[in-house]
Amino acid sequence: MKNLLEVEDLRVEYRGRPIVGGVSFSLGKGESLGLAGESGCGKTTTALSLMKMLPDGLKQSGGITLRPEGLEEAINIGKRTEAGMQVVRWRHVSLVFQGAMNSLDPVKHIDSQIAEVIRLHEKGVSSGEVSDRIADLLTTVGLTPALGKRYPHQLSGGQRQRVMIALALACRPSLVVADEPTTALDVVNQAQVLELLERLREELGLSLILISHDLGVLAETCDRIAVMYAGRIVETGTVEAVFSNPQHPYTKRLLDSLPVIGGERGLAPPIPGAPPDPGNPPKGCSFHPRCPYSTDRCLIEPEAREIAAGHVAACHFSPWASWPELESSGLAVES
């Protein structure tokens, strides 16, 4: 079976400097992929380039192929024009944006915003059918259809994000890209929205790309995970493999910095230094200036290598049999 989405050597440049430097991944039908990484590592840029919606000045190249079910031919997003993308956006790929507060037009009713996208992509739908579908969508995401008569500001943050998800499902796309969908929410709403996404994926057979800086969020919702650093994917594999057996020092440090409930482990020292400017990355492995294990070898760029089946890492020293003990930061958590 062919994959739903195939991304091959995706590059994004800004004034000749790389923002995303050759990203490749694939996504099967009904699968969910987590994109993790620090701020500025190119996650959002990658997400927007899947829809060819980069701001002016950013140039993208590389192959993006989408094979939605029921479509004879694959959609070659990489080669589509703006007009060609307009029929792909939302019909096949939709987006749940990070700003739950500002993702909806403040001066339009919820209903009319959902109706707008249905009418845009499906000509000749009767208004009765449109309002039935809106009611269905709102019910699906756990809202009462009466909320559709409201304006965005009259809803809570959690309700707004549910509306956003309903909107994303309005044209029954095969792929939903969710960029930090829970970041603006409180803990309770975060959990509920993640649960909702998980449920919808199972019920509707959606494929999902979930972008988050929070590895905990990705661990709960995703099948596979890709860790990005300075515009590249440094490690990718199943959630179990990456979490239990990280093969890149950066992934290792990110995991160490996750708090463990009831854990007696001392909190790992924060990663020293700031993430590099992807436009001007350090020579060789772009993580080496911050890597506690770096040697001269790291001045040469490492190849991405398959460590185990489906588990790929870009580090000269992988596979790591064990991680050398680091000096404790003294920030031990009292138990």
Partner: protein, 299 residues
């Protein structure tokens, strides 16, 4: 805003250089204009409403005076009124804004109502009424313009002080027993001055336009030539219908250029203080905005 920062801001863009050049020229002419003028600007002659020639590069007025000399001499009033009125407005506006924002309570309510009132009342009619009640003179013009244009500054300063008042360093100073005067002088004022400064530059432009309008309406200082009174005389003497463009265009163009120069500098300062206003920050908007809280910058 540091002095060197302000300097590089002004010299670093064509808007800043253009503004500085025009303002510099205007200040120079306002000081030495009487010496530079080729003719006595008020001397009448028989050469009435003559178009530009070698003798009179901008032609002559309805009384045969030299237009170019009048432009040079008239610069002084615009520059003087512009700067002096804006200064009065800045002092008034920042005092009221500081008092209103810092002390709060009834002081704030009263001063805020006063500001609101001045903001709502149409300025030119108010200036006209005040200027007509007093006898027109340069001092009256400066006072009237200064007294009627401070409310905007007051509003902006008040808002800034309200946010500063709650900031940690002010709270700390207060906890350490610092008095109001000390806190205002050491913490509030230094952080408000750039704002006052940018706003005042913009008020200079408004003041220059106001002086010209009042003078055009016959409320200028009758003993002095200004660009506004030149337009008044040109208009009243029928220069437009006589087609005397050389008498009509220079004073208006002079006002426009000076106001443009001052406004450009003012906008530049505003953008500097509030980078959100900048035309193009040059950075892509799609950069990820959320930082991982556990990752710290080395400091």
């Amino acid at each position: 805003m540091t002095w060197s920062g302000a300097f590089s801001l002004l010299v670093g863009s064509w808007r800043g250089r253009f503004g500085l050049a025009i303002i510099g020229l205007a200040v120079f002419v306002s000081i030495f204009g009487t010496l530079l003028a080729p003719y006595d600007p008020e001397a009448s002659s028989l050469q009435v409403l003559q178009p530009p020639s070698f003798d009179h590069i901008m032609g002559t007025t309805e009384s045969g005076a030299d237009v170019f000399s009048q432009i040079l001499v008239g610069t002084r009033v615009s520059v003087l009124v512009g700067f002096a009125a804006a200064f009065i407005s800045a002092v008034l506006g920042s005092t009221v804004g500081l008092a209103s924002g810092y002390y709060g309570g009834w002081t704030d309510r009263f001063l805020d109502a006063l500001e609101n009132w001045f903001l709502v009342i149409p300025t030119l009619p108010l200036m006209i009424v005040l200027a007509r009640l007093l006898d027109p003179s340069l001092t009256v013009l400066i006072a009237v313009i200064g007294l009627t244009s401070w409310a905007g500054t007051g509003r902006i300063v008040r808002a800034q002080v309200l946010t500063l008042r709650e900031r940690a360093f002010v709270e700390r100073a207060r906890a350490l027993g610092a008095g109001d005067t000390y806190i205002i002088r050491r913490h509030i004022l230094p952080n408000t001055l750039p704002l006052i400064f940018a706003n005042t530059v913009l008020i200079i432009a408004v003041a220059i336009l106001s002086e010209a309008a009042l003078s055009f309406l016959g409320l200028g200082d009758p003993t002095r030539i200004s660009w506004g009174t030149m337009l008044e005389n040109a208009f009243n003497s029928g220069a437009p219908s006589a087609g005397a463009w050389w008498y009509v265009i220079p004073p208006g163009l002079a006002i426009t250029l000076l106001v443009l120069a001052v406004s450009l500098i003012g906008f530049l300062f505003e953008e500097f203080i509030n980078p959100r206003l900048q035309k193009d920050s040059g950075e892509p908007a799609a950069a990820d905005e959320l930082a991982i809280p556990l990752v710290q910058k080395e400091s």
